[in-house]
């Protein structure tokens, strides 16, 4: 017999109030992400790389946090341009610092970060081959409009891949992660509380008129995509 009773307080969505409002906290968060980067970014990065095709030129990251995923992907794809957009000044500042360091370390890659509203992306229609986003959806102020923007800027034969956590992921999995993130536990849980469930993501897609998109649960995460994706191994 299983129980439906939840141990963790994750039934209702709790949007995060003004996250990243302090540059020191953002630096602390960035440091934590950098330390665990190889693990946390492995799957999203593999998924993006698996979708790269000959002739592609432009990738766009919507909500780049501190820029780590863009930098990592761009380093692997030195011939493609990666442009990131974020709407929080502190995140942009720390991402710029990371970019400076990457340039200093002669990392391959063509990366540009800029500050803009996520629901008004500064790119022309049909201009990106891959539009991606990781661990950002839960912070989007206007998710329906931002989803529409992702669809607008993506080329007809391109793909949109949005990954975030799933608030209703299996609790055992969540508590397992909590054993490892240690002092980052509060941050992790606040993000999780702000994250969407698969049903809520499907509802956002319906509202955005993107009814042919997918929302798939995957371990701890949720993967929204403009077309079905091949599974990537971890």
């Amino acid at each position: 017999m299983t129980t439906d009773t939840r141990l963790l307080n994750l039934t209702d969505r709790v949007p995060q109030p003004s996250p990243h409002d302090d540059i020191d906290k953002v630096r602390f968060y960035d440091l934590g992400m950098r330390r665990s980067a190889l693990m946390a970014y492995k799957r999203p990065s593999d998924r993006i790389l698996a979708n790269v095709r000959d002739g592609m030129t432009d990738l766009v990251e919507v909500g780049f946090n501190t820029g780590l995923l863009s930098l990592h992907v761009a380093g692997k794809l030195p011939d493609l341009a990666v442009s990131g957009v974020e709407e929080n000044q502190n995140l942009v500042d720390v991402a710029e610092d990371n970019l400076t360091l990457a340039v200093w370390a002669n990392t391959a890659g063509d990366v540009e970060f800029e500050m803009a509203k996520l629901h008004r992306l500064p790119f022309p229609d049909d201009s990106a081959d891959i539009v991606f986003s990781f661990s950002s959806l839960h912070r989007w102020r206007r998710p329906v409009e931002t989803l529409r923007e992702c669809a607008r800027i993506c080329k007809p034969d391109g793909v949109v891949i949005i990954e975030d956590m799933n608030r209703h992921a299996e609790e055992g999995h969540i508590t397992f992660i909590l054993q490892f993130v240690k002092e980052g536990g509060d941050e992790f849980m606040r993000s999780l509380q702000a994250a969407y469930t698969r049903e809520e993501a499907a509802e956002l897609l319906r509202e955005a008129g993107l009814t042919d998109w997918q929302a798939v649960e995957e371990d701890l995460g949720l993967v929204i995509s403009s077309r079905p994706l091949e599974p990537v191994s971890t």
Binding site: T5, R6, L7, T175, Q179, G185
Partner: protein, 459 residues
């Protein structure tokens, strides 16, 4: 449960609807001889002490530990002694006698000899520790000195466990340890010279660059050194950001790591070691009582220090993981209990199965004595399934995990006895999630085994 009687002629026993006239005032009613010693016997209890300091922090270690620091260590030891005093003053603790103990970490011997002396003096002086209690301590070949070893022995520590990991210089280097195998061997000789008879060494398999041949070499050296216990663990490689570490030879394939397990289990068995917990082996008579009896006999354990886990008064719980908050709580005179779980009677029975099988066998009579139930009946389906899979054997006396296959799958076997409510929830490693717990109370689970709800247990 139905009560049946074989005779109807007893004058004091009437069954409804006939009115019984015996005025019931005691229970149970089957009287046997009892004497003063039995009534006032002190029950056994264990203690776990956590020292969260290491002199050198290893890659790949998931535990909460701190670099040894003079001021922090001193403040910590004061708090730890205060925690011991707090426990020692409680009547429940005074009704027990400490028969087992484990001092782990971290590296307890990261403390200085006088600090160890002071701490153990306080521990043994405050609690009712039985003469000859079975106490173990963890150390490393680097931290142990003659002075420390002497203090430990004089204070009554009987078993010492060294984190050796491997006797191959290249492999030691790959896991970031001082890489002179001679020094490791010398530390074991030193312990023996000082008078330690029961010495365990921890080895690791699955480390960068390890091969079956080098693994055999490490096992051979360990056996030749004449240590009484050998435990081995699988190396966990975490994502390595360091460019230097990225250049290391790869860790062996999973299939090779599995073979290493089976190879070691067979080799050690053939060399006269007896297996317990799947990956621990001891010469007959040298298996530490700590895990074995505390788990299979359901003996309470006092947890001391941050993240220490214990089992007292129908709860398992762990201490505040944050060393600063731990010190503050203890200094304020409170116990630093952080999270845990009340153990209901049906769960106490399951707990004894879950932890009991980890010692390799579960004895039917002992289980009945502790919990008043026949686990062979109660868990028939699980036992049949495990037997069919060749993981355990069952007979009239109880069950036994089959080695080496069953040892390899020991945790799977153990989890077969989880109640549905706890399945797929992880073991704790020191994360306090109390801030995120849902405030709605969790309804008590009604298991599908009403017999276990009715039966009592006397711990």
């Amino acid at each position: 449960m139905s009560i049946t009687t074989t005779t109807t002629s007893m004058p004091f026993w009437k069954e409804y609807p006939e009115r019984d006239s015996e005025w019931v005032r005691q229970y149970p009613t089957k009287h046997v001889p009892v004497n003063e010693e039995e009534v006032f016997a002190r029950k056994p209890m264990g203690v776990y002490v956590h020292i969260p300091f290491c002199n050198r922090l290893c890659f790949s270690c998931p535990y909460i530990k701190h670099q040894t620091d003079r001021d922090l260590t001193r403040t910590y030891l004061d708090a730890l002694k205060t925690e011991i005093t707090n426990y020692a003053g409680r009547p429940y603790i005074q009704d027990h006698v400490i028969t087992l103990g484990y001092i782990g970490g971290g590296t307890p011997t990261a403390l200085t000899a006088p600090q160890l002396d002071d701490l153990l003096g306080h521990l043994f002086g405050s609690l009712n520790v039985e003469e000859g209690a079975d106490f173990s301590i963890e150390t490393t070949p680097v931290d142990i000195t003659e002075r420390k070893a002497t203090v430990l022995l004089e204070r009554g520590i009987r078993r010492i466990s060294l984190g050796v990991q491997t006797f191959v210089p290249e492999e030691l280097k790959n896991i970031g340890r001082p890489n002179d195998p001679e020094m490791l061997k010398e530390s074991i000789r030193l312990l023996r010279r000082c008078g330690f008879e029961n010495i365990n060494i921890d080895l690791m398999h699955g480390i960068n660059g390890q091969t079956m041949e080098s693994w055999e070499h490490s096992l051979d050296v360990a056996i030749d050194l004449g240590v009484t216990c050998i435990s081995f663990y699988t190396y966990m490689e975490f994502a390595q950001v360091s460019t230097k570490r990225r250049k290391l030879p790869p860790v062996p394939e999973k299939a090779v790591v599995d073979d290493m397990f089976l190879f070691a289990a067979e080799k050690l068995s053939k060399s006269g070691f007896l297996g317990y917990y799947g990956d621990c082996f001891a010469k007959p008579g040298y298996q530490p009582k700590y895990g074995e009896t505390s788990w299979s006999e359901d003996i309470p354990i006092i947890p001391l220090g941050p993240t220490a886990t214990g089992h007292l008064r129908d709860h398992w719980y762990f201490n505040e993981p944050d060393i600063g908050r731990y010190i503050q709580t203890v200094t304020e005179g409170r116990l630093p209990i952080s999270m845990g779980k009340h153990i209901t009677k049906p769960e106490a029975i399951r707990r004894s199965m879950v932890l009991g099988v980890k010692a390799g066998r579960v004895n039917r009579d002992r289980f009945r004595r502790i919990h008043g139930v026949d686990f062979m009946e109660m868990f028939r389906a699980e036992i049949d399934d495990l037997t069919e899979k060749g993981l355990i054997t069952a007979d009239e006396d109880g069950i036994e995990v089959t080695g080496p296959k069953g040892w390899y799958y020991l945790d799977n076997i153990s989890k077969a006895f989880y109640s549905p409510e706890y399945r797929r929830y992880p073991q704790h490693l020191g994360a306090d999630i109390s801030n995120f717990i849902s405030r709605q109370p969790i309804p008590l689970q009604i298991t599908s085994r009403p017999r276990s709800e009715e039966t009592g247990c006397d711990h």
